[in-house]
């Protein structure tokens, strides 16, 4: 697979390591009420769809940026690549 890095252009997926569903950006507040249950769902439960999947890839052998890759889990076709930092900022989660 080729991942089209927003800053570096097309890169071989071998340069990356895979973390999982991009919902891992939405880390719950550990101080809030019901944090136990929220962290169980956050850490252990997944949508695991067949079809488009937004997921976190780390450019370990490149610029060490985190990317949000939208990829079809049935065809392995990659439809969009964003910097995870931009995605997190848009949610107000990153400075």
């Amino acid at each position: 697979m080729i991942i089209n890095h927003p800053l570096l252009g097309p890169c071989d997926a071998q340069e990356f390591t895979y973390l999982g569903d991009a919902s891992l950006i939405d880390r719950p507040d550990g101080m809030a009420d019901g944090a136990d249950a929220a962290f169980h769902d956050y850490l252990y439960l997944r949508d695991n769809p067949a079809g488009l999947h937004r997921e976190l890839w780390f450019h370990e052998q490149g610029d060490r940026s985190w990317l949000v890759v939208t990829r079809d889990t049935v065809t392995h076709d990659i439809t969009s690549v964003e910097l995870a930092r931009d995605v997190a900022r848009a949610k107000g989660r990153s400075a």
Binding site: M1, D12, A13, Q14, T17, Y18, L19, G20, D21, H40, D41, L43, Y44, L45, R46, D47, N48, P49, A50, H53, E55, R71, T73, V74, T75, H76
Partner: protein, 416 residues
């Protein structure tokens, strides 16, 4: 029809005109006591043991394609019980004992071959870890034998013992491990279940559950509604998709695992070997092909095929261990979809919906577990209590902090 040597001889003398189909092709009835979703190894084994062991009579197995078309026909056919943790080892040893009597039990030649499995040791630390594992196996009634490098060399002289980076220092052998003809497992269980009255309904895709007031009343299928007293789901890589129809999110990701077979060779590899320094496992099929595999591709996938970097990685592992492999041509490669759980161990449990039961999360260890998985799931479906060897395989173990993490990897499914 009972199969035997006498039957083969009789049929040979009468032109093989008396053989009958091994199972029927029934139309679905409007209602069953128990409906199993998934006509793979685990689903068929569940139906078989429900009928044979737990006295259930009105059972159907629903399969969207043809039986045995998924992972039971896509694995590397290895059976073993070399696990370490308390939640796992009694279950897998139960499974290995069932394998040992399986062919006589269901009267079908599954070619169970206890040719032994050998996990190679490449460092002192690894010898310590494998010694501990072997002791755990023996404590749970399994067999384990620690071999020196010389003992390994006598049995496998062609391995690369003096590799500068990963020399072979010995091995942990389980002599009762081995291989099984994987398709025959599905067919044998199907035939055994069918002869006990189980309806095996192929080309029948489940499209939804009918759930009212927290109780599952049956399943909507491509061949109409089928009512059920209890519904058991055993759909491996499609577990998340199926349970999403009941509104559940699972602690599972689906990943692709590739496997390979070479051209046929004369007997060269007597047992199953695994590389302890990389991830590579290999055995020789009775047709002569070397069957081998390695790591997951590592990303979520429902495509039954992988990518080339993992092919290269597996081939490198094979060459490091077994240099003679380089002269052999690859015949076929394929992929299967693994239901990778968050701790690398399976789930056989009730759900919060009455009448809906789940069996999945087998990661890439599902084949060896087939008999015990079927038996334990049948036990749960028939009695509403877990089988004594499967009490740890609960949904709520993540919430309670009772993970069964054999590899110690944490909640990262692609690393188990």
């Amino acid at each position: 029809m009972r199969y035997s040597g006498f039957r083969v001889l009789q049929q040979a003398l009468t032109g093989h005109k008396g053989w009958q189909p091994a199972w029927r092709d029934p139309a679905p009835k409007p209602r069953y006591d128990i409906v199993i979703i998934g006509g793979g190894g685990h689903g068929l084994a569940t139906a078989y043991y429900l009928a044979r062991q737990f006295g259930q009579a009105n059972i159907a197995v629903l399969e969207k394609g043809w039986i045995g078309g998924g992972n039971v026909g896509r694995n590397t056919t290895i059976i073993r019980s070399n696990y370490m943790l308390d939640g796992n080892e009694p279950f897998y040893e139960f499974s290995l004992k069932l394998w040992e009597g399986l062919e006589q039990d269901f009267n079908y030649n599954a070619m169970v071959s206890q040719r032994g499995i050998l996990n190679l040791i490449h460092s002192d630390a690894q010898r310590d870890a494998f010694t501990r594992r072997g002791n755990a196996m023996i404590l749970n009634g399994a067999d384990a034998e620690l071999l020196t490098a010389e003992q390994v060399r006598r049995e496998y002289p062609f391995l690369n013992f003096d590799n500068a980076r990963f020399p072979i220092k010995g091995g942990l052998a389980q002599r009762r491990g081995g291989t099984v003809r994987h398709d025959a497992v599905a067919w044998g269980y199907a035939r055994g279940a069918d002869s006990r009255g189980v309806d095996i309904i192929q080309n029948c895709e489940v499209t939804g559950f009918r759930i009212e007031n927290g109780t599952c009343l049956g399943v909507e299928t491509s061949r109409g509604f089928i009512g059920a007293g209890k519904v058991g789901v055993a759909v491996a890589g499609n577990s998340s998709r199926m349970m999403a129809k009941a509104g559940m999110r699972l602690p599972i990701e689906s990943h692709v695992l590739q496997a390979f077979v070479t051209e046929g060779l004369k007997p060269v590899l007597p047992g199953v070997i695994t590389f302890g320094a990389g991830h590579f496992y290999c055995s020789q099929s009775d047709k002569g092909g070397l069957v081998f595999g390695g790591d997951l591709d590592g990303y979520n996938s429902y495509a039954q095929r992988g990518n080339l970097p993992v092919v290269e990685d597996v081939a490198e592992g094979g060459m490091a261990l077994f240099p003679g492999l380089g002269r052999v041509r690859l015949l076929r490669m394929w992929g299967g979809i693994m239901d990778m759980s968050m701790d690398g161990s399976p789930i056989i449990d009730r759900t919060h919906i009455d009448g809906l039961y789940f069996n999945g999360g087998w990661c890439y260890g599902g084949f060896k577990a087939t008999p015990a998985s079927g038996w334990c799931f049948a036990h749960l479906l028939a009695t509403d209590t877990p089988h004594p060897t499967a009490t740890a395989y609960r949904f709520d173990r993540f919430k309670r902090g009772r993970m069964i993490d054999e590899k110690g990897m944490g909640a990262q499914p692609n690393l188990h």
